[in-house]
């Protein structure tokens, strides 16, 4: 990223995230719900979550909601530490590899779903440039989360 690259995406991402928090948009829950419905094979990691038998069951599942909240908190950390993602996510990466056994491909899928949900919320304001900034961020988070896999 050049000088413009370092400045521009941060501002775009910060602006979008601030609007999120103000609007109480249930981003965390909705993105996990979408992941589990659009890519049903991702449910393999959530056997202990209980009823995931239909889109409405997934939407009403308290464990899905709780996990969604955790992911959003992590994203908040990502935005505060955009230059140190690999260090920021080192422990989480080890956890997802050693304990949770999650295929890193899933991080990319979730990232893409989050971008789509942002687009549904922001409509025309979600310009190609804003999309580019967010795709870069979610991709960098996915790489950071996969970094400690062995």
């Amino acid at each position: 990223m050049g000088a413009k690259g370092e400045y521009y995406p941060s501002k775009l991402i910060g602006k979008v995230l601030k609007i999120f928090c103000i609007s109480n948009f249930v981003f965390d829950m909705v993105s996990f719900h979408r992941l589990l419905v659009v890519y049903p094979w991702t449910q393999r990691f959530f056997d202990s979550f209980g009823n995931l038998s239909s889109p409405s069951a997934i939407l009403g599942n308290p464990k899905v909601k709780a996990h969604g909240k955790k992911v959003l908190t992590s994203f908040g950390d990502a935005i505060k530490n955009m230059d140190n993602l690999k260090i920021t996510f080192a422990k989480l990466s080890e956890l997802h590899c050693d304990k949770l056994h999650v295929d890193p491909e899933n991080f990319k899928l979730l990232g893409n779903v989050m971008v789509i949900i942002l687009a549904t919320h922001f409509g025309k304001e979600f310009t190609p440039e804003v999309q580019a900034a967010w795709q870069k961020l979610v991709s960098a988070v996915a790489i950071a989360l996969a970094h400690k896999y062995h």
């Binding site: 971008v115 949900i117 687009a119 190609p128």
Partner: protein, 141 residues
């Protein structure tokens, strides 16, 4: 295999795009080039100057092909055979690029339809467009 419900979702979304193929296609291409700059290598005549007329023209062509796929959901291979030949013999777009285009397609739909872009719609369109991409790259080897 698409279920009856998925077909209905696909047709419902297509009804919203039909008549606006050029604008939709142009926005799709603009997003593709902005978000995934490496894809520009496949569109040297388009991506160097972002000429609106050319983007609209090529966008129209791409979305017309998607429209044809929607009309022939049960016979994708036959309906898209000439396009599959084109991609295999002439264009040779690396298959890894189709998911990038599909992501941008979803974002265009999402930003225009907003809350109306339900999870069921996204699931149906993702399945459908992935199927189209499979057919378009099937003759590669």
């Amino acid at each position: 295999m698409l279920s009856a419900q998925e077909r209905a979702q696909i047709a419902q979304v297509w009804d919203l795009i039909a008549g606006h193929e050029a604008q939709f296609g142009a926005e799709l291409l603009l997003r593709l080039f902005t978000v995934y700059p490496s894809t520009k290598v496949y569109f040297p005549h388009l991506s160097s100057c972002h000429d609106a007329t050319q983007l609209l023209s090529h966008g129209q062509r791409m979305l017309a092909a998607v429209g044809a796929a929607v009309q022939h959901m049960d016979h994708l291979r036959a309906a898209l055979s000439p396009l599959a030949d084109l991609h295999a013999l002439v264009l040779r777009v690396d298959p890894a690029n189709f998911p990038l285009l599909i992501q941008c397609f979803h974002v265009v739909l999402a930003s225009h339809l907003q809350d109306e872009f339900t999870v069921e719609m996204q699931a149906a369109w993702d399945k459908f467009l992935t199927g189209v991409a499979v057919v378009l790259t099937e003759k590669y080897r």
